[in-house]
Symmetry: C2
Subunit: 358 residues, 2 copies
């Protein structure tokens, strides 16, 4: 059990007026207990109560550490496990449930009246996870340093005629050779016009001079995720507009990063980057939010967007990733991970962002 | 839109007394529309109504085919998309919701009163998905044939001193060289005592004579999943008991497969295998259900277990995977995929199951 992390969750629950909560997200359970149970379609649930009577529900078929450090209730597929979970809940009080709790567990929990009401309680966990403690900051630094080294090797794979899929296909091995455990998400390797296709991964397109190469890549180590995007020019800059687009995106990236410190609103960080792109007439080509929180998941709760009026706090880690996408032509995105410090911020990626022609 | 598949879902909804349903599972949406949207934490929803006024809700950021073949409602992160979804729902009638619908979408849908009640409606989709049509049966046959070929190559990797991780690490590439798209799940390669550890994947243990080698592996092709387990002896059979255990598991596997035909209860199939193992005194060493349904997901809805009193139907595909696990010593599991035919069943795997000493 991670006592300090659970203490922060309980504090958050108190602020939300909740006495109790059921956490079902495997990553959040790992964060709070150090126990990883990949239960697939089966239930795994961490019941938290401000009284301190916490309890972990795990199917018999999953192995737990010798000393799990928390009371454990075991069940099998044929046991009435929703009833067993309900029996622990204080049915006279509102129950906070995990935002990811699937309806197949939530609806029967409601039907059996296990709670005076049901609300999404995940903010209590998400806000705790949003502020990384010392160990987490170090893990995020380590995995981002691997991503920097890997990007250098990925750049070396960009030769005329190589396909996106061939480049992407070598990444996992490169990451592992650098000490990472795995990819943190399927890499995006986009040549030319594919750089403008939202959520494109890779295909059989071959690299040719004049292509922009957008690589959005990340690895995972010790349960923490890296995420970085760099855009290169291959052979030449095809059009002057492409150079201007690159410099705009870089300026937007730097403007946002320059203003990050505790107390600055996320919508204002988004605005700083977006206004540069808008004023140059490319506002409609920047089709997404500026960034997302990251940690044990590539997309942790929280984002840097026009809709988020919250203020940055020390210990938060998120991406800053402005982009301009010219449909049918090319796309540029430049993405770093940023750690908010007491008096500013620190970039977790140090890979060069200057325009580079390979 | 897959008209015939949707027709079957609507028929199932009618039998369940439901007029309407919201499907949020990306795989089920792919099954019903041929459209794949990997929306991550964002909402993607297929609203089905027996009147035929179906509608797909997709965030602007995801690319759709030119002609999606269904009415599409687009929204952005800052739109009130739960409200937009609710506006389509007939609030005077009960709404079936996807079993996987996360509480962060379900609770606000309930709070805004989008439905006279809310029930898990997934059985309507799951039962349709449980009976594979011709195209699906062929896809499952193709991917299982690749798994057979791959097993032969995996077997060739088993040399003294090789580690589980080294063997597992080569599997994805072997699968892809045989035409598969990807792994269908992280492979399990278990040497010796690791074969008895539930849900073990692989580690740095080196292969030595006398080890049992349990490999539970599968690939994915054209959205369909293979899954097969074979257990080999390396160098020698260490103890006579190990041979007996192998033969028992094989007998259990064959006994179950021999009785599969439409109309046979799943609990009776489970019983046929389990009783052979129990009667030999190893009942407590067979710690899981006999099998699971499989298709677009490795674990589709439905299983072959003592709790399932339903009867097999033609077109269903599931695994038959009895096992005996001797803790601290070894484990044997033999798993095939089986297609129920009009008058019996057909094994999708043809890789030999005879005891083999490598």
């Amino acid at each position: 059990m991670r006592v300090e992390r659970i203490r922060r969750v309980l504090e958050n629950l108190e602020r939300m007026g909740l006495e109790q909560m059921v956490v079902t997200d495997a990553v959040s359970i790992l964060y709070l207990t150090d126990i990883w149970v990949d239960a697939g379609e089966r239930l795994v649930a961490l019941y938290l109560n401000r009284s301190g009577k916490h309890c972990l529900f795990v199917n018999h078929m999953f192995t737990l550490p010798q000393d799990p450090g928390i009371e454990v209730v075991r069940f099998s597929d044929t046991d009435p496990y929703i009833g067993m979970l309900g029996a622990r809940v204080d049915s006279g009080k509102v129950l906070g449930v995990d935002k990811n709790m699937p309806s197949r567990f939530l609806l029967p929990l409601m039907d059996q009246g296990s709670g005076a009401g049901f609300v999404n309680g995940s903010l209590a966990v998400d806000e705790a996870r949003g502020i990384k403690d010392q160990a987490e900051q170090e893990a995020m630094g380590r995995v981002s340093a691997i991503n920097d080294q890997a990007m250098e090797q990925f750049r070396g794979l960009l030769k005329e005629g190589v396909t996106e899929r061939q480049v992407a296909g070598q990444m996992k091995e490169i990451y592992q050779s650098l000490g990472a455990d795995d990819l943190s998400f399927p890499p995006s390797v986009c040549f030319g016009a594919n750089g403008a296709v939202g959520h494109y991964r890779c295909g059989d397109v071959a690299l040719k001079p004049g292509d922009c190469v957008l690589m959005d890549v990340g690895c995972r180590k010790d349960h923490y995720c890296a995420d970085m995007t760099r855009t290169f020019f291959f052979g030449k800059v095809e059009k002057e507009e492409h150079r201007r687009v690159y410099e705009l995106v870089l300026a937007a990236n730097r403007a946002a990063e320059a203003m990050i410190r505790p107390g600055v609103r996320f919508c204002d960080i988004d605005r700083a980057a977006r206004s540069i792109i808008e004023e140059a007439g490319y506002g409609s080509c920047f089709t997404h939010r500026l960034g997302h929180f990251i940690g044990m998941e590539v997309h942790d709760y929280g984002d840097v967007s026009s809709a988020n009026q919250a203020c940055a706090q020390a210990g938060q880690i998120f991406s800053i990733e402005p982009g301009i996408y010219l449909e049918g032509e090319m796309g540029v995105r430049i993405e770093d991970l940023v750690l908010v410090t007491e008096d500013g911020c620190r970039l977790l990626n140090s890979y060069s962002k200057e325009l580079e022609i390979l």
